[in-house]
Every structure is written in structure tokens, then in C-alpha cells.
């Protein structure tokens, strides 16, 4: 009887501790997703004063919408372009910043500082960098005797310009996680490897990289979520243009909801994004988890 009571006490205690977080989690993650799911089966735009049920019409319309497919494809390319590169670069930065003999803190600062610069400020700065004729990139191209390129105004270039900028913004943040991961690898492993005369490449391949797998997984999930989350720069730089060439899913939701006021469609788009993120996260989590050595 006493044991049961003690158990009940711990249960109540734990739930009370979790309650504050749980309230906000339910109110701003789970409740809105459920509401949005319901709204996505309704016609709710400027033409319908009261939302009414229209089944899967929104989803049907979405599948036929060329812009939706373009935005989705863009976002997938944006993820493919930014995630592996910034994660790999972050690992390289961490390995170097960890060992650099001279200017260690200078190096770390240089790599990391873009993280603390707001995306909206980044957009202002890079807008000037990419501007034809006057921009920094144009000046550099001139030195090399190359012709001027319109980075943001050209459908072929704009995505590359965005990808490069986002890698610049993010790599340093991921570097910090790798630096932390590197510190957690025991020095003895390295000592015994050097006694056996292992080359630095072998050491990296057999010790450092496998032991950093949990970090890589964590960082990849964050990087992937970010590739759907980072849209601030579009407001300043391109508004998704030219001809939706730089448009991304979240920005499209923003336009649909707050410029066109089509709430049913915005809901359907939100549901697609949530499902997509959860699927990829589940895949990353369960797929990669088996291959990871936890120390």
C-alpha cells in the first residue's frame, strides 16, 4: 500500500513538473496542427464568409497547382544544396578550429559570427553583394575579367545564390556542436592509434567520424528543419521570384495565408509540410539510429 502511494506521488510530481511545458506545447504545436488539419478540408477564403466543408478540394487544387510543385521542388533542392554541404563544412571547420595553432579564437569567431546576425540583416548585406554592376560579387567578377551576372534576377542563378548564403549563415553554428562532440572523444583512443602508426585519414575514418555520428544526426535534423524554416531572406531579396524560382514552401504558405487570405489552402499546405518534416525526421531517426555508436 505504501509503495503504491509513493509511486502515485512520483507520478503526480512528474506530471506537475511537465505541466508548464506541456500546456504551451499543446497550445502552440498540437492544438494548432489539429485545427489546421480540420480547416484544410474547408473552403475558407475571402469569398466564403463562413468556412464550409469541401472535402479534399483544397488538396486536389494543390496537386493541380503548378506553383505548389515548383515550390516543393525548390525546397527539396534547397535542402539538398544546403544540408550536406553545411554539415560537412561544419565538421571541417571544427576539426581545423580544434587544432589550429595560430589564431584559434579568430578562426572560431570568423566561422561562427554569422549565426548571431539576423537573417533579415544577412539579406540586406547579401542583397548588395549580389547586386549587378555595383555589388561586391560583380567587382570580383570584373577582376577576373568575367562578364556581369544578375544573381537574383536570373531564374538559373537565384537558387545557387540563396544556397551559398545559407551555408555561410549556418555552417558556423553546426561547427559548435562538432567542437563539443570532439571534446567528448577520449584522448586515449587517439594515443593508441598513434602508437600503432595510423595515418590521420585512418584515424578520422575509424575513430573521429564514427564517434561523431550522434552529433551528425542531431545537426542534420536541425539543418533539414532549417531548410524549411528559413524564409526571412525572401521578404527582402526576391519575394520568391523571379517567377517563383526562389520561392520556398513556408513563404508560399505565408503568401497564401496573409496576401491571398486563402485559409483553407494555407492549412492544406501547412499539413503537407508538417507531414513531410515528420516523415523525414522519422526516417533519419530510425534509419540512422541503428548505425550509430553511442559512447
Amino acid at each position: 500500500m505504501g509503495e503504491l502511494r509513493a509511486k502515485w506521488k512520483v507520478n503526480m510530481y512528474a506530471w506537475l513538473l511537465l505541466l508548464p511545458s506541456l500546456i504551451f506545447l499543446l497550445l502552440f504545436t498540437f492544438y494548432p496542427v489539429i485545427q489546421t488539419f480540420i480547416l484544410s478540408f474547408h473552403q475558407a477564403d475571402l469569398g466564403s464568409p463562413e468556412p464550409f466543408f469541401n472535402g479534399i478540394d483544397n488538396y486536389k487544387q494543390m496537386v493541380e497547382d503548378e506553383v505548389f510543385w515548383k515550390v516543393l521542388t525548390n525546397n527539396i533542392w534547397f535542402a539538398i544544396g544546403t544540408v550536406p554541404t553545411s554539415v560537412a563544412l561544419a565538421l571541417g571547420m571544427a576539426l581545423f578550429a580544434n587544432k589550429a595553432l595560430r589564431g584559434k579564437s579568430f578562426i572560431r569567431t570568423a566561422y561562427f559570427y554569422p549565426t548571431v546576425v539576423p537573417m533579415i540583416a544577412v539579406a540586406n548585406i547579401w542583397l548588395f553583394i549580389y547586386t549587378p554592376e555595383y555589388g561586391a560579387l560583380s567587382h570580383v567578377m570584373e577582376w577576373f575579367g568575367k562578364g556581369d551576372m544578375n544573381w537574383l534576377g536570373d531564374q538559373k542563378n537565384v537558387m545557387w545564390a540563396m544556397i551559398f548564403m545559407v551555408i555561410w549563415k549556418e555552417a558556423g553554428y553546426f561547427m559548435i556542436f562538432y567542437l563539443a562532440g570532439l571534446q567528448n572523444i577520449s584522448q586515449e583512443l587517439y594515443e593508441s592509434a598513434s602508437m600503432e602508426g595510423a595515418s590521420s585519414w585512418t584515424v578520422f575514418r575509424r575513430i573521429t567520424f564514427p564517434l561523431l555520428m550522434p552529433t551528425t544526426m542531431f545537426v542534420s535534423i536541425i539543418a533539414f528543419t532549417n531548410s524549411f524554416k528559413l524564409v526571412d531572406h525572401l521578404v527582402i531579396m526576391t519575394k520568391g521570384g523571379p517567377d517563383n524560382a526562389s520561392n520556398l514552401l513556408l513563404y508560399y504558405i505565408y503568401e497564401t495565408a496573409f496576401s491571398f487570405w486563402d485559409q483553407g489552402m494555407a492549412s492544406a499546405l501547412t499539413i503537407v509540410m508538417v507531414v513531410l518534416l515528420l516523415l523525414v525526421a522519422a526516417f533519419q531517426f530510425f534509419g540512422m539510429d541503428k548505425k550509430i555508436h553511442y559512447n
Partner: protein, 267 residues
């Protein structure tokens, strides 16, 4: 040989990474008519900053951002500490289910739910308020996971000893766990502050008055009021003004910050 190339390459990367900032700072001090040219003259001016300060209520924006960031940080610290302790140290009914619910927030953060959360805020009649900007971020799964990792490494014997001394659970949390997790609090605090100092989309959607607008939204409105590149110097000055406080804080505390991150056991 290969090592040398790598070293030079990595230093080169650092210079490349610094370039946008240096260029923006340089442009912000240049006279307007020289802003787009690359001539190395000795002309520098503070005019741009003066103009920007007069053109938009940046003082109000600074105050708003400061209040929002502080409010979120305090709330997150409290909610995350309590939840992290429960997840790290207690066995209870429904633990696994709750843990997955928290994981979901990591995958689907509030930033992605801009439209659904706008509706929640509207139903709560909190549109265009500072508290409305803050509320969706009061619970942070990231903070919970970070602190949980740290709390797990704190030996149970410490808690037992404190209990023997007659400490209540709150005293144990406050006197044993919180002080020992200080590096994690610093690391999380800086991530949270820089994140919310920089947040843009959400406040853009729910604010429409000067009293509630943060710096980022103010900066975007200011920058977009210019049609052409003719005002580069002013826009650069405004941009530098917005990024300066955080950048300065980071430069001053960068050693502590990076070390706390490394010692907080983030893996």
C-alpha cells in the same frame, strides 16, 4: 604539403566568411555618394547613422526586442528546468509518450506553424501584443533535451545527500541541479537570445504597431522603404546598428560561450 594547402584554405575561408560583415561596416561609414564605389579614399562619416536614427523609431524597437527576448528566456528557463528534471530523474507513467510529444516539437517548431498559430493568437485576442510574440516559444523542446542530458550526468548521490540534510525538492533543484548545469544554461541562453533577437517572420505577421514591433521587423520596413540601391549607405548603417549589440556581446563572451557549449555535453 596537403596539410599546408588545407591550412591556407581554412584561413582563406575565415577571411571569406568575414568579408560580408566588414563590407557592411565599411559601407555604413561611407558618404552616400561613395557607397557603391570601391575607391579607397579616407572619407568616413557618421551621417548615415544619424539619418537612420531619425528616420525610424529604432529606440522603441530596441526596447521591444529586449523585452521580448528577456521574457522568452525567463519563461523557457523555468519550463525547461522543470521538464528536464522530470525526464532525467523520475520514472513515471506515460514518460515515453510525453518524450515523443516533445521530440515532435523539435521537428515541427513553432516557426513553421505561422498560419495555425496566427489563428490561435487571434482566438486569444493577443494579435499585435508583445506577449503574443513570446507565447509560442515559452516551451522549448531543445532546452528540455539540452538540460536533460546535463541533469543525467549529475550523480544521484548528491540529491540523496541534500535530501538527508532536509532539503525540499525545490531546494534540491535550485541548490544542486541548477548550479551544476550552469554551462548548459549559458549555452542555451545564448542560443535562445540570438534566436529570438533575430526572429522575423512571426513578429512580422502578428505585429502592426510601433509599440510592439521588434528590431528585425523595423529594419525590414526601413530597408524596403528604399526603391533603389542609392541609399546603400543608410541601409548598411541600419543593418550594422541592428546586428551590433549581439555581435558585441558575442565578441566579449565568445570564449565563455563556446566553452559552455563544449562543456554542456551537447552531443
Amino acid at each position: 604539403m596537403l596539410r599546408k594547402i588545407t591550412t591556407v584554405g581554412m584561413y582563406g575561408l575565415a577571411v571569406l566568411w568575414l568579408f560580408p560583415l566588414l563590407w557592411a561596416v565599411w559601407t555604413s561609414f561611407r558618404p552616400r555618394e561613395l557607397a557603391t564605389s570601391w575607391s579607397l579614399s579616407a572619407d568616413f562619416t557618421l551621417d548615415n547613422f544619424a539619418k537612420v536614427w531619425d528616420a525610424a523609431p529604432f529606440d522603441q524597437y530596441y526596447i521591444n526586442t529586449f523585452l521580448i527576448v528577456t521574457g522568452i528566456l525567463v519563461a523557457q528557463m523555468i519550463t525547461a528546468t522543470l521538464a528536464a528534471y522530470a525526464f532525467a530523474k523520475l520514472q513515471f507513467w506515460g514518460k515515453d509518450v510525453l518524450f515523443v510529444l516533445f521530440l515532435v516539437q523539435l521537428m515541427v517548431p513553432a516557426d513553421i506553424l505561422i498560419f495555425p498559430n496566427y489563428n490561435v493568437l487571434r482566438d486569444l485576442s493577443l494579435l499585435d501584443t508583445k506577449i503574443g510574440i513570446m507565447l509560442p516559444y515559452f516551451a522549448s523542446a531543445f532546452g528540455v533535451f539540452l538540460l536533460r542530458q546535463t541533469f543525467k550526468t549529475i550523480p544521484h548521490e548528491l540529491e540523496e545527500a541534500a535530501r538527508m540534510e532536509g532539503c525540499s525538492w525545490f531546494q534540491i533543484l535550485w541548490r544542486v541541479y541548477v548550479p551544476l548545469a550552469k554551462p548548459t544554461y549559458i549555452a542555451f541562453g545564448l542560443v535562445s537570445v540570438s534566436y529570438h533577437w533575430n526572429n522575423f517572420m512571426w513578429p512580422l505577421i502578428i505585429t502592426n504597431s510601433v509599440e510592439n514591433r521588434p528590431l528585425t521587423v523595423g529594419l525590414a520596413i526601413f530597408a524596403q522603404s528604399f526603391e533603389t540601391g542609392a541609399q546603400w549607405a543608410e541601409v548598411s548603417a541600419a543593418t550594422v546598428m541592428v546586428i551590433f549589440p549581439l555581435l558585441l556581446a558575442f565578441l566579449l563572451f565568445q570564449r565563455q560561450f563556446i566553452n559552455s557549449f563544449i562543456h554542456s555535453g551537447v552531443k
